[in-house]
Symmetry: C2
Subunit: 172 residues, 2 copies
């Protein structure tokens, strides 16, 4: 039987980017914000200096993995044809970091399963698990939104919301 293809996002789904972004924004810019204070705030507004925090800084080399994501992705990788699809072209010199991060943290994912792109439009599959509406809205398949502070207040009848990796096995 052919497995359904699921596109799984990196930042905000496998990679817990909020913790290091909040930390670096505090230590580098003196701006103190908690994750709760950023609920309902767009990422670009929450991290106004995003480009300078991540550009050429190896930010993505050691981002922590999301709680439960190792076991969750292992489960998905058994059940589905998993593709890791990450928007990765906007910031300079983070591509090798992102790829090596995947290999180190999720060694059961092979290189054939990884796609790093500018935009996700035109990359097809049956299911998408992503934290960004801009990606889900261009996807013709089942749409699962992974809860992150920036999307927590968002409601869209075409999305199924998944709050954390423990819930992934309930819905998928």
């Amino acid at each position: 039987m052919i497995k359904q293809k699921i596109l799984v996002d990196m930042d905000g789904v496998l990679a817990d980017v909020y913790k290091p972004l909040i930390f670096k924004q505090y230590t580098q810019r003196g701006i103190a914000k908690t994750e709760e204070e950023l609920n309902g705030v767009e990422e670009r507004e929450a991290f106004t200096d995003l480009a300078s925090i991540v550009n050429n800084t190896h930010f993505f080399a050691d981002v922590p993995i999301m709680n439960g994501s190792y076991e969750g992705l292992l489960y998905l990788n058994e059940k589905f044809d998993v593709r890791i699809v990450s928007s990765a072209m906007e910031f300079d010199n983070c591509l090798d970091d992102k790829f090596n991060w995947m290999k180190r943290n999720f060694p059961f994912i092979g290189w054939r399963q990884i796609v790093l792109c500018g935009v996700k439009e035109g990359i097809t599959g049956d299911i998408m698990l992503d934290d960004h509406p801009k990606n889900l809205d261009n996807f013709n398949g089942k749409r699962f939104i992974f809860t992150q502070p920036h999307n927590i207040t968002l409601s869209n009848p075409t999305y199924t919301r998944i709050n954390n990796w423990d819930q992934v096995t309930d819905f998928l």
Copy 2:
């Protein structure tokens, strides 16, 4: 009017990989072969030590561009919705090199237009320009094969053959 989407390959289409591969195979391994001698020979057979020549060596950082590709891609970029789609996950630490190579040699291509992937299956478009049958055969659209030594003897009625970038404007 919405432009048709064309997927354009890097290695063997925009990047002239044969010249540096032949050179490095000669200088590093003492194997002397001309491009003509490699006609009809699979790439893996032509360059038996491919992995060690390109892995972690910044091979892709300074590959020459294919003759006429700058003007040709500029033409395509006006006429079509161009996506640069390159298989780039097999060799270690070449992703940033490939992205920076695109930016340096084809600065009119924006980051939103670039996709680096393990396999191209599942990346959709109207037209594909590629030198590898494995990519063309999985593509549901018009298939254009760009002539390279490894595919020169190949005949497939579903492909249109383009021998060089000067011919691109005749066919597309």
